[in-house]
Each structure stands twice: as structure tokens, then as C-alpha cells.
């Protein structure tokens, strides 16, 4: 019985964490939030029947699309049959023909028309303009959402031009919303496009610390009026509140915020923590958050260095020595020369043949700990110049933490 309750609770938590709409609804109530600003702009263009355009800018994972979706959902409820939404994504539709086709397709679905796959790009443009006029006459606002807006600004920007140009006419009634993580997105536009674009921008920033605190409560506390048993919910919630008040927990969240304070990063951390909940005890503990921190906060280079065999470490130390000697470029042959010098001067057990060293060298290339410094492809591996992809400090750190590392190697590293 308890097991079932717990699974239900977990399902609820995970559903919340995977649903950006739920996460960002916490920020929607304050009057000066992005949600209110955006809603005001859109609502006024719907009621006043005018054309508009706006850019939503901000780093990835700050909820641009999520907030926009919330606003659109609300508006669709408030003004039914007065809005139709067309969604495009720069990753998918950066090609003009493709974008026009997609617009025509979505317009057809929206207005229950037949969509012809064979229609040419010209037909689609004509259709779009005709539809815009019709919608304008019917006092229906068409909202174009262009995600990854910067990608639409590549090439000739024909799509942007034809969209914005169509909006210049009195009869149309449309809103273009560009969403981009490039803060200079409006600078990418051509002059003819830019002059038709209203320079409204809404900036999305990573949340402050108190906001994150609110977010935590919003996500982790179970609702009291749910199908879950009352005593379980109160028990769970009191534990969560205890953890949230804990000083050690604050240290953990500080670490997360220091590296990346976007909401999506935080949500990923919470997802990992929720997935760590032990199904037997059933409540969240501080340990869950600690282990989540360690999974999210990985240092791939150090992990990779820890996995290296002794021979691979030798090769990297040789490369480091060459770099210290200020040899501008070096390749496998020079590394091998250094390696044989080391092996000759101090008879170690790790004296291997050239072929074996070459294989270890290739492993390092596979692991992306080293990389070719040139772009040529017709040369052999032995002769192509290479470089280390980590700092000397990282290498030293890895050698020190490696228990099987021979002491001579450390000495060579430090010299």
C-alpha cells in the first residue's frame, strides 16, 4: 500500500519536473514578471486588432518558450476563436520553402482546410498572405512563434521579410514573436527587415535566489488536496521543509547556482535528486541531493584521465614535457623520442614497443584528451602535430589521484 502511494507521489514529482509549463507557472503571478509583460503586449494586440512584433531573448533554460506557452494558453482561453498560433523552429524550418510549407500546413489544420503537399513555394506564400487578409477581416490574430530566431536570420531572410511585409498592410492582424538565446538577435537582421520590426524586447534572466527557493517549494511539496493519503503528504512535506531549511542543503544549492543558475540546470538537479529517492524509506533525504550534485557536477576530463592506463599517462606526461620545453609543435614521433629518452635514462618496466605506444596514442585521441592541431587528413597519424586538451594542472591532479601511478611518473611531471 505504502509502495503504491510512494510510486504515485514519485510519478507526480517527475511529471512536474518534466513539464516546463508547471515549473514556470510559479513566476507568473507578480505584476512585473515577463509573463505579465508578454501577456499585456499580446492581449492588447488582440483586442486592438493591430500588428506587433516582439523578441524574447535570454540564455537557454530560462523559460522563454515555457512562459510564452503559458501566455498563449491563457489567451486562447480568454479570447477563444480570436487567435491562431503558428509555431516554427529555426532548427527545422530555417529553409524558406520549408518554413512556408509548414506555415501553410499549420494554417490548414487550424482552419480545417485541405493541405496540398505538392503546392509550390509561391503558392504557399500567396496562400499565407490571403489567409492573413482573411483573418484580419475576421478580426482573428495570427501569432507566429519563431523559435531559434537567429537561425531564421541566416541567408536572405526572405521568410522574415515576407512575413513582416505582409503585416504592413492595414487589413492584416498578426504578431511575430522571435525567441532566441542570442542577445544580439535583432542585430542579425537585414536593414529592410529591421525597419519593419518593432524593437520590443523582453529579456529572460536566470532567477534570483529567493525565486529559486520559491521554485523548490513549488515543485517538491506535494499538494494536500490530492488522492494521496493525508498523513503521507504531511510527513513528506515536513521532511522536505526541514531539508530546505538545512544549512548544508543551502551549500549544495549554492554550488549548483555558482556553476549555472538557469532554471533548466536546477530542474535537472532536482530530477536527479528525485530519482534517487529510496523506494523503501520513501522520503527525500539530504543524501539524495548530495548524490544528485555529484552526478550533475561531473568533470569529464578528470573522469577520463582517471581511466587512463599507465602507458597512456606516460605519453601524456611526455607531451606535457615537450610543451614545457616550448616546442611549438610536436607529433607522435617527437613524443616517442621523449619517451625513449625517459625509458633509457630510468629503466622502468613500462618500456613498450612503438606499435603499442601508437595504439595508446590512438586511445588518447579517441578519448579526446589530445587532439590533432592541424586539419589535414592525408597525413599519417605519426606525423600530424598534436596538442594536449587539458591543463598541466589537471594532468598533475589526475596523476596524484591515480593510485597505481608509478612515482617516477610524478617526478617526471613535476620536473
Amino acid at each position: 500500500m505504502f509502495q503504491k502511494t510512494l510510486e504515485e507521489a514519485l510519478l507526480l514529482l517527475r511529471k512536474r519536473l518534466c513539464d516546463p509549463d508547471f515549473i514556470f507557472s510559479v513566476f507568473s503571478d507578480s505584476p512585473d514578471s515577463n509573463y505579465s509583460k508578454l501577456k499585456f503586449i499580446l492581449a492588447s494586440s488582440v483586442t486592438e486588432a493591430c500588428n506587433n512584433s516582439v523578441l524574447l531573448l535570454g540564455p537557454r533554460g530560462c523559460g522563454k518558450i515555457a512562459v510564452l506557452d503559458l501566455v498563449l494558453q491563457d489567451l486562447l482561453k480568454e479570447y477563444p476563436d480570436m487567435i491562431s498560433v503558428i509555431k516554427l523552429n529555426g532548427l527545422l524550418h530555417c529553409d524558406d520553402n520549408c518554413a512556408l510549407k509548414e506555415i501553410a500546413r499549420q494554417l490548414c489544420i487550424e482552419h480545417e482546410l485541405m493541405f496540398s503537399k505538392m503546392a509550390s513555394s509561391d503558392d504557399n506564400t500567396e496562400f499565407m498572405i490571403a489567409m492573413l487578409r482573411e483573418c484580419g477581416l475576421a478580426h482573428k490574430t495570427v501569432v507566429f512563434v519563431l523559435d531559434e530566431f537567429d537561425l531564421f536570420a541566416q541567408g536572405k531572410q526572405r521568410l522574415l521579410y515576407s512575413l513582416l511585409d505582409a503585416m504592413q498592410s492595414v487589413s492584416s492582424q498578426a504578431v511575430v514573436i522571435g525567441v532566441s538565446c542570442r542577445l544580439d538577435a535583432d542585430q542579425l537582421l537585414e536593414k529592410r527587415v529591421r525597419s519593419r520590426f518593432s524593437h520590443r524586447k523582453i529579456l529572460f534572466l536566470p532567477p534570483e535566489k529567493d525565486d529559486l527557493q520559491r521554485l523548490l517549494k513549488h515543485i517538491l511539496l506535494l499538494p494536500i488536496d490530492s488522492s494521496l493519503p493525508q498523513d503521507f503528504v504531511t510527513g513528506f512535506n515536513s521532511r522536505v521543509s526541514n531539508i530546505l531549511a538545512d544549512k548544508r542543503f543551502n551549500e549544495i544549492t549554492d554550488k549548483i547556482i555558482e556553476s549555472d543558475s538557469t532554471v533548466s540546470n536546477f530542474v535537472r538537479f532536482l530530477f536527479s535528486a528525485v530519482s534517487c529517492i529510496d523506494l523503501k524509506s520513501g522520503y527525500m533525504t539530504l543524501e539524495n541531493f548530495k548524490s544528485a550534485l555529484s552526478t550533475i557536477h561531473r568533470q569529464p576530463k578528470l573522469d577520463c584521465l582517471k581511466d587512463c592506463s599507465i602507458l597512456e599517462l606516460y605519453i601524456m606526461v611526455c607531451m606535457k614535457r615537450l610543451e614545457v620545453k616550448e616546442q611549438t609543435s610536436y607529433n607522435f614521433n617527437s613524443v616517442m623520442k621523449e619517451y625513449t629518452i625517459i625509458q633509457d635514462s630510468s629503466q622502468t618496466v613500462d618500456n613498450y614497443s612503438r606499435n603499442v605506444c601508437l595504439r595508446a596514442f590512438e586511445h588518447l585521441l579517441d578519448r579526446q584528451l589530445i587532439q590533432f592541431a592541424d586539419r589535414g587528413h592525408n597525413q599519417f597519424i605519426e606525423f600530424r602535430p598534436v596538442k594536449l586538451l587539458m591543463s598541466h594542472f589537471q594532468l598533475h591532479q589526475a596523476l596524484k589521484s591515480n593510485r597505481s601511478c608509478p612515482p617516477i611518473l610524478l617526478k617526471l611531471m613535476e620536473k
Partner: protein, 535 residues
Amino acid sequence: MSKEENPQVTRRTTRLSSSSSTPNAIESPTKSINLPPLTLRNLVFEEKEPLTFDGLISSLPGRRNQILEILRLLGPVNCPLSPLFVYGGASTGKTSTVLQVFRHLNRPFVYSSCRTCYNARQLFDNILNQLLLHRKSEKNGYSSAKKCEKQADFVNYLKEALIGVVDGLKGSKKFEGCVNGNMVYLIFDSLELVRDWDKSGTILPLLFKLHDILKFPDLGLVFISSSSFDTYDSDTGLVDPIPVYFPDYTEDGLRQIFLRNESNPKLRSAFLDVVLKPFCRVTRRLDELSTALAPLFTKYCEPLEDLDIIPNEEMKRKLFDCLKPHIGPALNGIFRVTSQSSVEAGVKNNLKRKNTLKFFGNDSVEDIDFHMSTSAKYLLISAFLASRNPATLDASFFDSTGGSANQKRKRKSSEKSRDLKEASEQELFMKGPGTFPLERLLAIYQCISSSEEYSLENDEDSKENTGLDGDFGENSLMSNILLQVSSLCSASFITKGGSCPLEGSTRYRSTVSEDMALKVARSLKFPLSKYLYRR
């Protein structure tokens, strides 16, 4: 490698080949007609008994923590999942672990590897075919379910297909018991290869953003990659998935793997005690270790009459003494395909090195171990010389008074300052073998083969005299020589480089190492060192 192979891996290949590729159908056309239509049941491993948890853990030794982590992140049935990024070095069991976990959970998934689907279109087709339960067959002309070339089309079709599958899973009760839950998981294997595709600039962000673009809560994404997330880069950043790291196997893990399915574990573990440690210093990659250890183990067992014997201390020591001389060469060799006899010869050679050093000429191991015609050998040597020697010195090397010019050159080079010599040595190190046009190769070839003819005429004892006469008649530059050049090219003894901007002709480069060239020269009794320019 036999220990690595487990039944479920072969199962996976058959499962995939039945749904996506066609080799079965080609083999037996009648069979393809009789195949039953695919159902949603084909999205899970088709087994009566799902893998138990203990079975899962024991089938993948050394991967317990990773299995637990993946299971935790996947969560109970019907849990939404934010995208997972499984990464770790080569042969650390990423793919097998993920697939085994799905076999254990018995949840529907679509596996597609970016290695077999070598471009975006193949990948899209493969995923859609599996989701739409489409099988390429004779009836539909081996075509795919949907034609999708653009990413936009793919996303639309994918959404349709996912809705279809999930509705099917939710709607009917008949899958209960054999399919768990109504989440569909897409598994992308070998994702690191996508970075080298054309248009990878848009495909990778699309794949990582797929979850947000589709907004489909019943979809789980699992990416498997051999390189970490920080090596993927895009202009405007990517959405980070949740990382799951697979470290290399530890020595204990390797031992457990090598002891699996072993008839005589005691003997095996005695063997591993001896060899595993030194080999782990070189590499901890399972695939390489298993190829290196397999011949050594047969060697180890050779003195034993009864393979089921449980070795005691004394015997272990004796076996180790027998094995000892073989370990060194095995450590220093890579991927030895040659038969047992040549390994033996190599060992003998190592033992007798001191004796044979003086007259290495008649040592059998120094011979090249493949057949090559005499003219090909000469071509190989000419290519080697053309790559190593500067073109300006060709005249002095190959004119009729070859010997005296050689002397002069030697004196000249000794006059050079030490610094210059070092610098040029460095240059050779950095630049590698030089390139040369075909004409130069043929000229050198003609010189050395004709001078050889001359010397052979003097040398009455030569056995190869008759053979050479056939090859080097008056018109030695016949088409068959050009044919030889092209076959050397395709055997990659010589590589074709880019064309020279001034002359416009294709330039060649010899890839042969000096040891190899010396071996070939020795087999021809050709004095290679006399012609080689020593800096």
C-alpha cells in the same frame, strides 16, 4: 572475444535486422513472405520470461553501479524521463547495459545506432520504420514507411508515429504482461559519430532538443556516446541532458568478465593472476585485452594434459615459467593475427638474438611474411627512396658512377654543422615522408632495376636471375608496371596525395616504414642503405 559475446547481443542483432535492414530477406525470399506482420510487441525483447534483476546484475559484471543509476533514473513504470546521456570510453559496456536494462524492464524502445544509420536520412527512416512497425519486404519494394528528407518532416512524422504507438499501448489490454507501460524510449547509439556528418550543426541540436520540441510526455530519450558532453559544441549552446558515466573496467571487473562461462575457473584465475596486471598497465580495454590474452591462455594450457586440473602452487609456478618468455612479446605486439608458429619463431628469435645479430641476412624472421612479385618489391623500394631522398640528389645517387658520388656526399654531410643536422632531423620527424610525382618513381625504378640487372649479370650465383629477366626486359616500363603501382596504391603501401599546384600531376607518398623497406631490400639483396640519404 567469446566471453564477451552473450546471447542477448545476438538477439539484438536479429531483432533489429528483422525490422530495419534486409539481409535475411535477401538470403531466402520465401521466408520474408511468411514473416508475420510486426506488432507493438516487437518493440520489446520478445521473450516469455523477462530478465530478472539478479540476472541483469550478474550478466554484466562490474557494472552494478551504472545499472542501478540507469534504473533509478528511468524510474517506475510510466514515469516521464528527461533525456539521459550515457557516456564512457570504448568497450565499457554502455550499449549492452542499456539494452539489458530494457530487457529487464520489458518496456518498449526503439534502438538505432548512428553507426549503421550513417546519415540523417537513414537515421530518420530507421526510427520511423521501427515505430510504424514497418518491415521492408519484397512487396513494398524494400522501401521505407515514410519518405522524409527534411528534419521538419521527420519531426511531424515522428509525432504522428509516437501518438499512434502510445495510443496502441494504452488502448488495448492484450499487451499487458508482455509490454510494460506506455512510455516509448528512443535510444540513439554512437552519437559521437553524428558530429562528423554533414549538417551536423543542425542535427545534433535537434536531437538534444527533441524532447522540448515534441513536448510529448510519453517519450524518453537515451543517448549513448563514447565521448563526454563537453566535446559536443554548437554555436548557441545545447540543452544539457542528465549524464550517466561509465568508467573503464577496473582490474577486478576485468577478472570477473574473463572468468565468466569458464569451465575451469581455478586454472583461469591462476593465469589471470600472472598476466592481468602487466597488461592492465598498457590498456584496460576489454576488446584488446581479450584478443591479446586468448592466444596466451592456450599457450599457458599447452603443458597440461588434463584441462580440468586444479593447479597447486608448484604447478602454477611451473606454468608461469613456461609462459614467461611469451608475455614480453605479447605485451609489445598489437593485434597479432598470424598463426601460432610465427609467434613461436618470434620468441625463439628473441632468445637467440645475440647469436643471430651478426649474420641477420639469413635469419628467417627478418623476411617479409607475405608474397610480392619482384617488380613490386622494386617499386616499393623506389617509392621509399623517392619519399626519403631529396629530389635534387637523385642524379648523384643514380648516375652510372653511383659509388663514388655516394662517397662524396658522405663527406659533404659530415661537414655540415651539428645544429643543422638536428634541425633537419626534427623536420623529418615532423613532416614525414615527402611526396613525389609518378615520373620520378618510374625513373628511380628504372635506375635501380637496371643497375641490379647489371650486378646480377656479374653475380653468377644469383637464383633470381631467371625471374628478373622475365620482368625486366627491354621494355620494362610496360603497362604492367603501372598496374603494379596502382595495386600498391590500393594496398596502401603508397598513398595518392593531392596534386601539385604547379605541375598539376598527382603526387604520391610512400607509407612504408624503414624497417619494412630494409626487409624488402634484403629479400632482393638490394643495397638499400647505399642509396639512402642520411642527414
